[in-house]
Amino acid sequence: MDETPISRGFRSRRQEQAPNNRVPPGQYVTTDFPVLSAGPTPQTKLQSWNFALQLGASLLGRWNWAEFEALPQSTAKKDIHCVTKWSKLDTTWQGVTFDDILKSVGLAESPAPYIMAHCDGGYTTNIPVADLIGGKGMIATRYEGSPIPPSHGGPARLLVPRLYFWKSAKWVRRIRFMEQDQRGFWESLGYHNYGDPWKEQRYDGD
């Protein structure tokens, strides 16, 4: 069709925000917290949960739940932006910053420029380390003061609020350092490799 026909009287119920310093272009603000998933919700018990840092074949660190909870805890209030266009402002998270994880295994800096996050259920996403250090990323275990429910990624999820929320991988279990960047689950199916919401980098080719 040359011209898409207009449906008389139909309009969006969502208020798209004029871009301002809180809401990236093309997003609308919601007070809900939509649950989006690519698979069944893993139901990992805390007693079998562990989290690992990996470089090549080496394990740089591994923590069980008690050990992970004993790491320095930080709280962050952040805005989050999903590529499906919803944004949620002032969300509060608690967990361990990426900086503190590196410190706890005696690393002053990251051993490689990129990471791949590996999660229960098989989900993966790739992130440059530069977007995780300096307080920019954490492994979160609490949302609004309570343990993160499984549907929202608990027991622990990655939190990288500066990038589209698909990068804040739910059910994270392992961070694998990479010398070369590799594409994760959505990045290998047409989504942008980096995903900066402020540049509207939703899709590969944007």
Binding site: T4, S12, E16
Partner: protein
Amino acid sequence: MAIRGKNNAMMATEAAAGPVRRLNWQLAHVRDIVVETYRVKSVVLDVTDWQGHLPGHHVDIRLTAEDGYQAQRSYSIASPPEDELLKLTVERVNDGEVSPYLVDDLRLGDEFELRGPIGGYFVWTVATRGPLWLIAAGSGIAPLIAMLRHRAKRKVRTPALLLYSSRSLEDVIYRDELDAMARADPDLRIVHTLTRKQPNGWNGHRGRIDRALLAEACFPPEQAPNTFICGPTPFVEHVADLLVELRHEPFRIKTERFGPSGG
């Protein structure tokens, strides 16, 4: 080549069963709006180049606002292939974006984009052998009524059973039509259950569909019924699990889950 109308019913079903053409967006024109219940309406559409469909097929519709905003949803086709016009049955979902527009704002003469028919997996025709067992909750009745309307138009004697769960009598979609169908057809049995509210003197079932009801209102597994379950995801999964426990063959059970809100 447009194939429509009751004289071409056989050709319509065969055309729809043939090689699938490239799926294009077409224009659908609203020719009638039928009130089914206090929150459900059927929209009757004239689709310019409609090539026919099979009972159980669905369509995608796409609405475009003046500012270019678009929303897309899927709806089962409630009309049988023997009907000239296409009928979609829509339940108003309170915080929905599309269903309130279709149920409350749509007018005769309006138009929107539509593509289909799609979803040949969830299809039944009178050419299929074996009894027909239909299990629905709420608006999940839509694809199943297309099957029953088709069966009635073709006047076949295929044994059929509809088990239909609704919140209350006011929520039963197509109530009068279903009653009339069952009265006129000794090979069709319809069993209602009302889950939240029952009228005084109600002799039918109450509460959700459970193992006991499925064991009583059924075709036994040995008769290998072709079974279609449609409605909200938790309902469909619960019923499908019970059927497997009752020894029905999984591959004869087809499900169409509507997601959390029921469409």
